[in-house]
Symmetry: C4
Subunit: 208 residues, 4 copies
């Protein structure tokens, strides 16, 4: 590792990769075989598996959101050269909030098909919004005076990314409110946000 400065964020990325990889994988723990009953045939088992749809919806929403969090983390660190203490703690906050997603998913999967379905969706959307807000703080801190950026920083789309995170945080907050009336619409917006967040461009040149 010739250049020490290039190397500075390597372990931070490795630790974050580890945490994000574990969080995304632990989601499958929500998915369990229906409890065995003696009289089950493949046909009845099929319907029992279908009845677990709330768990599948919660799993898909959370998996896609965590994947897009990783994609943005990856892209942001692609244009960042070094770190400082504040950036380290903001990254820690990001990991803390993201590691609450399996908990939110658990609540969501348990209550999405019950009469208490508004709160879990609103809570999940608020959590996603807080994550987008933390991304926005990280980006703000990294780009002020081009503090932590790689040269040539001229290629970095500072404002476009910042706007992207602020818009996302606002939409998530709005859909948290909306979820109190129409929970399923909240989930739909959550899925659409994955598409939006997957398209933030950090660099004029590179596409990944």
């Amino acid at each position: 590792m010739a250049d020490f400065q290039e190397n500075e964020t390597v372990r931070m990325e490795a630790f974050s990769d580890g945490v994000l990889a574990i969080i995304i994988t632990l989601l499958t723990f929500e998915l369990k075989a229906p409890e065995f009953k003696e009289e089950y045939t493949s046909r009845t088992l099929f319907w029992e598996l279908l009845k677990q749809w709330p768990a599948y919806v919660a799993f898909l929403l959370s998996f896609a959101t965590i994947f897009v969090i990783w994609v943005n983390h990856h892209r942001m660190f692609n244009v960042i050269r070094r770190s400082d203490a504040m950036f380290l703690y903001l990254n820690g906050l990001l990991l803390l909030l993201t590691s609450l997603i399996p908990f939110a998913t658990n609540v969501l999967a348990t209550y999405i098909s019950t009469s208490a379905d508004e709160l879990p969706v609103a809570f999940t959307m608020l959590l996603f919004g807080a994550i987008a807000g933390t991304f926005s703080l990280m980006w703000k801190h990294a780009t002020t005076d081009y503090r932590l950026l790689k040269r040539p920083a001229a290629d970095v789309r500072v404002r476009m990314v910042q706007n992207g995170f602020l818009i996302s945080a606002s939409i998530y907050a709005g859909s948290a409110l909306l979820a109190l009336l129409l929970p399923m619409v909240g989930i739909l917006i959550g899925l659409l946000m994955v598409v939006y967040l997957s398209r933030l461009k950090y660099d004029r040149q590179k596409v990944v």
Copy 2:
């Protein structure tokens, strides 16, 4: 990390390695000590452990398949030089499908020795087939016009690998159908496919 372009897929590989390592390790969670009963001796415990054979079969099939997925992922990235957005999302789809294997294993271990044994095997085979299909899409995308390949691309066995994945996807799909009649034959084919998939060669020169 002297060459930036060489470096481009490093974090994608690290994240994928993390996810695959976690998925393969979580499989052991299927394996639990038989519930303690006061009168057990080592002899009765031995038979109780043997009675858990469905869990062992499901564990072995899934462990071997995930390992061979990792081997192919590793070999494919060995001849790939860079990434783009589409390749990133195909890789995300691959991880999503692979992270469903512990769920399939859980269903398989619960129902493999019951009268509802056809569906779990068919579901597992379909999942494996979808994973082989995703590999084929990744390879297609990476090799069209030698887009993402390392030079010298001439050494890469483009068509042979593509055929390997398409054949695998077809056999898995066929054994999903077959499993509806003869579930155990489906599992046997799944184990044989591990051997087949471990022998795909991406490069004329290198063997790993």
Copy 3:
């Protein structure tokens, strides 16, 4: 990896990163949805979620402490050039003690709001103190005769870091005693120690 000596601690850091990332992520397993009851509405679910505050407090304390353990591990290895057998085993001891934190968190979350609340807090504080003590042994071993340090070692604040760990170990031990009388004060001290330990400086120049 041009320089072999620089490379020497890379895999030790990678393994430690992996273990710490998994430990910090497994903490979320403490957080579970309240068991479903037919009559729940979003309003009652909200209060049921609030009632789980002991789990949230235990989660927050443990997450913040493990993160600050990672930060110090990261900073220490930033000024360390190579490893030897003793350092390897001290690192293993550190990982062993840290991997007991989820167990301590589990006991804490279960008993923090009961009449048996003194012991779990005292146990947790003792564990944190033992971790600080192990850090101090690692640092002592690495810095004696500047054995394992990177050049220029003159920039390394050897004594200041050593004092920081010894002070931390003492405060944790003291708050373990205090926790036998006032458990909640013990938890508060634990949270304050996170702030203190996040500010240890290993290098006169670098801030991360």
Copy 4:
């Protein structure tokens, strides 16, 4: 990553590190708070925690053994330059066997203090023996004609390491038999083997 050949085992090490880090961390899942009872005080909780000693013994034995497996894996790859297909699969077998340790630990912790204590200890020792045997196969394959070794291979203590693994495998097999009579002696030998295996030297020069 200038030298492609140096790089060849990097991802294999990363994947193995990931799997080993997860396995060692999952062991803590054995350790759970004693079930809450209304009348518990810190004093009674203390004794309830002590009563879980079988889980602590099983945890300690498994943690130490997996750590020493990682240490040997790390040291072996320190003197290995490249990989081939057979080495890849032997490494997969090593990971498969190692990932059974949490299962063995679970059986051990459940039955160590019952009348069925012989079998779990014997099974654990056999598993450890099979792991030592797999290490010996990997080393045999890597060192025949100095196939996969780094230059200068003259410094590598080929025979000494091979003997170390064969001796370990034999002692583990012997203590599996012994455990059928004296289970606790089997566990003691298991702990002593950790010390023995931590002292295998792969290189005349380097100590780590």
